[in-house]
């Protein structure tokens, strides 16, 4: 009888959603069934090594005589002054061109002088006009960008920058990757500059960060040197990148007093904000087969288990900028949930770098994905749509804000707060006033209102934080929308909590939009 009353309640036949449609037929053969995968599950990819692998090219064997002479000659570099060895290197260049693989062997010599001499020889070969195996030479340099000697690493970066084709782009991006340590600031700045030469502007924020440096760029490391000289050098290098991109230095000088530096940096930021979409729009399309192959592999890495792989892949693809979008949209046609989810995240992150026309094209494709069956993907589609900041996205966000799905409400509220338009702000205020404080949607919408500089409900929000308990726990999650850091979670007593709430209040009210 109960089964008649509740036909769907039969324990042995639960209602499970149908399997997702097979999209692999639409996707590239390379991606189909993910086999053979270059990423064994559970194994971390050695990113620097992999990104340094050269494209296939014919590698003739070294001339035995030249190799023997080079083997005898190169160790003599140990203990000699670089200036003294310059004529020798000039002399040995002909040998090295006949025995490049022997030269590459010596790039790992334990003696710093030998490595430096070999790096110079490698650079000479690469820039000689007819390098014997250019991709192999570039790859040899790419694999050694973390040489412990700064001068060697920097020289290798220059050699890599002369590689034929755009395949080194991901490797150059990796030099300022999220997990790199911060010791090699100049290597990172120069890598960013070489990316600018290749039409990739992902390093521009790094230039700004370096120019703003007044204390310690690597504040999580122990500095053991006097900082001012070194930071001046960093700034010189970053400024070269700015000049390359903008054609002017905006009057910046590392020797200028701090307010003067700040004024120049403000001008650079203004220029960047006004021009970045135009610059990215002029970036070359990502069509080189070798680069595309690498991009597709990196996309595939987003479907693997180890978070380090995934984080690296998301970072690299994001830094490749809007030109990578066609490959992300292609991957969205596949069936791997994790890959699709991360593609949507990256597209949302790329929106601010794309021109209005490009965003409109992307929005059109994304709107078609709103009918996704997977609720977790729906949220990310909505997020990417909101990130477009286009007026036509507002109706989708409004619908999501007022709908009954709390995940959609949260994402829509945050995106509306980021819109920075009167219309979006009004929508948030109107909706926020409609929800009672015990409505689960009140907190995210209120936090979004505050983020959008509507402080009408700020005191109510802070009261929830002051009150402690479950409500405050929940409210504290939204602090990441309002300030860059907070100590609310560290507060152990009511007094500490109230003090932190007061600090937050001041920071929120004085925060620059």
């Amino acid at each position: 009888m109960l089964a008649l009353l509740f036909p769907s309640c039969d324990a042995n036949s639960p209602t499970t959603p149908p399997p997702p449609p097979d999209r692999d037929a639409l996707f590239t053969p390379w991606h189909r069934a993910e086999q053979p995968s270059p990423f064994p599950q559970g194994v971390q990819w050695h990113w620097r090594k992999r990104l340094s692998e050269p494209p296939a090219e014919d590698v003739p064997p070294d001339n035995p005589d030249a190799a023997a002479q080079l083997r005898a000659a190169l160790p003599t570099l140990a203990g000699t002054e670089p200036l003294e060895t310059e004529p020798l290197l000039e002399e040995w260049e002909a040998l090295a061109s006949q025995a490049p693989q022997t030269l590459i062997e010596f790039l790992d010599d334990p003696h710093r002088d030998v490595r430096y001499g070999c790096a110079r020889l490698l650079f000479r070969l690469m820039t000689s006009g007819s390098p014997p195996i250019p991709n192999q030479l570039a790859a040899a340099a790419a694999k050694r960008l973390r040489d412990e000697a700064d001068e060697v690493a920097l020289l290798h970066l220059e050699t890599l920058s002369h590689a034929p084709g755009p395949w080194p782009i991901p490797r150059l991006i990796k030099t300022f990757g999220r997990y790199d340590n911060h010791l090699r600031v100049v290597v990172r700045a120069r890598a960013a500059m070489h990316l600018v030469k290749r039409g990739n502007y992902s390093g521009f924020p790094l230039f700004l960060k370096i120019l703003k440096e007044q204390t310690s760029l690597q504040d999580d490391l122990n500095r053991e040197w006097e900082s001012s000289l070194r930071t001046a050098w960093w700034k010189e290098e970053a400024l070269k990148g700015v000049v390359l991109a903008a054609g002017e230095d905006f009057g910046f000088s590392p020797d200028a007093i701090e307010p003067a530096q700040a004024a120049s940096i403000r001008r650079i930021e203004e220029w960047w904000n006004e021009n970045r979409q135009r610059l990215w729009e002029q970036s070359p399309a990502m069509e080189d087969p070798e680069l595309v192959r690498r991009v597709q592999e990196i996309i595939l890495a987003m479907g693997t288990f180890q978070l380090r792989n995934v984080d690296n892949a998301v970072f690299l693809l994001t830094q490749m900028g809007p030109p990578v979008a066609p490959w992300l949209f292609e991957a969205l046609q596949g069936s791997n949930f994790q890959i699709r989810r991360h593609c949507l995240e990256i597209l949302a992150a790329l929106m601010p770098w794309a021109t209005e026309a490009t965003r409109r094209e992307w929005l059109q494709e994304l709107t078609g994905l709103l009918s996704e069956d997977d609720p977790a993907l729906q949220v990310r589609v909505l997020n990417a749509i909101g990130a477009s900041r286009l007026p036509e996205a507002l109706s989708h966000l409004e619908q999501a804000l007022l709908g009954g799905n709390p995940s959609h409400t949260e994402v829509a509220a945050l995106q509306l707060a980021n819109f920075s338009t009167a219309e979006a702000r009004e929508l948030l205020t109107k909706t926020g006033n409609r929800f009672a404080q015990d409505d689960p949607r009140w907190l995210p919408v209120t936090a979004a209102r505050i983020r959008a500089d509507d402080h009408g409900a700020l005191e109510d929000f802070l009261d929830v934080l002051r009150g402690g308990g479950d409500g405050a726990d929940r409210a504290s999650i939204y602090l990441s929308w309002l300030v860059d850091t907070d100590d609310y979670g560290q507060a152990r007593s009511t007094e500490e909590r109230n003090r932190e709430v007061e600090r937050l209040r001041t920071e929120i009210l004085t925060k620059q939009p």
Binding site: L5, F6, P14, T16, D220, F305, Q338, S407, G489
Partner: protein
């Protein structure tokens, strides 16, 4: 129509009675059976499973999103490091995939509940349980799912740092001892009406629990004399009770073995190797840990700690030998500290074992 209404009413009454019979009886159920509950948060489970809920609430699974150590600036910075979110506030794991190659997905709402009931039990419109019960008898419609008792459910989060791999390579795996046997042991709960009921503990005891830490690690101290007449204190720690490395899982953990030699006047013998002043406590110290990539430069004692993974594998023994001059030393204090982060000082950490040996 009237007949249908009667039928419906009878059905609801029957369902309510059945729901009471099925529930552990520890609280008054407000979820009427048949009318399926809304599987939105752990609160949905509380009415019928209040004791299990309370255990979970006291666990670090429940605190995974609010734990101050996790939210600290140098850790997740209140989850501004978004890649931390999936494991600290996962969406229902069973709905995606389980196993060592499966990655969890973050939840967008109610993140403050951390690894909530639904993270492990929700499966679309019903919950996964140890036994199947008709939806008419239990509002959450439990359906038996063996994955709940397997490591494959834990792996999506806990194998990011190889814990499941370590377990598979251990004798615990060969003996059929799984994750649940240690971290969710079978317990007997006494219900308010006096009845008892067996079930799995939902406290998920591990690195935050002194008993679990002590039970898994043996400390052995031998006082020897060398051929040259010197004293030699041989201190061994054995990972005898964990089916994975000790310390395990999150790379934040560290285990420090400290041996302090004390002179007749009560003064501690200075450390025999040079360390930064704030870390100079013991006469000898050894750390067991899988370090962060950049940890060495932060700790400034690279020479002492090194970069390699020194966690103690399941069943493994590590020994610290401390030579001493018998005429100069009368006593030794041996301490084993478990640290939730590598930067934690001894006094802030958990003292797992302490022994004083008269020499």
């Amino acid at each position: 129509m009237k007949a249908l209404r009667v039928l419906l009413a009878l059905g609801i009454i029957a369902a309510c009675v059945a729901a009471f019979l099925y529930s552990d009886g520890s609280s008054t159920s407000t979820a009427s059976a048949g009318a399926l509950i809304d599987l939105t948060t752990s609160e949905s489970c509380r009415d019928c499973h209040s004791e299990v809920y309370d255990e979970w609430k006291s666990s670090y699974h429940a605190q995974s999103f609010l734990d101050p150590l996790v939210r600290a600036k140098e850790q997740s910075n209140n989850f501004r490091k978004v890649q931390c979110i999936p494991c600290h506030a996962p969406a229902p794991i069973l709905e995606r995939a389980t196993g060592k190659g499966a990655r969890v997905v973050e939840r967008f709402t109610f993140r403050e509940q951390g690894v909530d009931c639904l993270a492990c039990h929700k499966f679309h419109d019903h919950v996964a349980g140890t036994q199947s019960v008709s939806g008419a008898l239990a509002a959450c419609r439990p359906i038996a799912d063996e994955r709940l008792s397997r490591a494959e459910l834990c792996a999506p989060c806990h194998n990011q740092h190889d814990t499941v791999n370590e377990w598979e390579a251990s004798s615990f795996h060969d003996a059929g001892v799984g994750c649940l046997d240690c971290h969710m042991p079978t317990i007997t709960r006494t219900l308010p009406d006096g009845r008892t009921k067996q079930g799995r503990s939902h406290k998920f005891l591990g690195g935050h629990d002194l008993g679990t830490l002590q039970g898994a690690l043996d400390l052995k101290v031998e006082n020897l004399t060398t051929d040259s007449g010197e004293g030699l204190l041989k201190v061994s720690v054995t990972n005898s009770g964990a089916g994975h490395n000790y310390p395990a899982d999150a790379r934040h953990r560290a285990l420090d073995l400290v041996v302090t030699l004390i002179q007749p006047d009560g003064v501690e013998v200075p450390a025999r190797d040079e360390r930064p002043p704030d870390r100079q406590r013991g006469t000898a110290r050894r750390r067991f840990r899988n370090p962060y990539r950049q940890e060495a430069s932060r700790l400034t004692n690279l020479e002492t700690w090194g970069r390699e993974n020194t966690q103690i594998p399941s069943g493994g023994t590590e020994t610290l030998e401390v030579p001493y001059q018998p005429e100069q030393v009368v006593r030794a204090r041996i301490e084993v500290f478990y640290k939730l982060t590598p930067y934690m000082e001894d006094l802030d950490s958990t003292l797992v074992h302490e022994r004083v040996v008269e020499l």
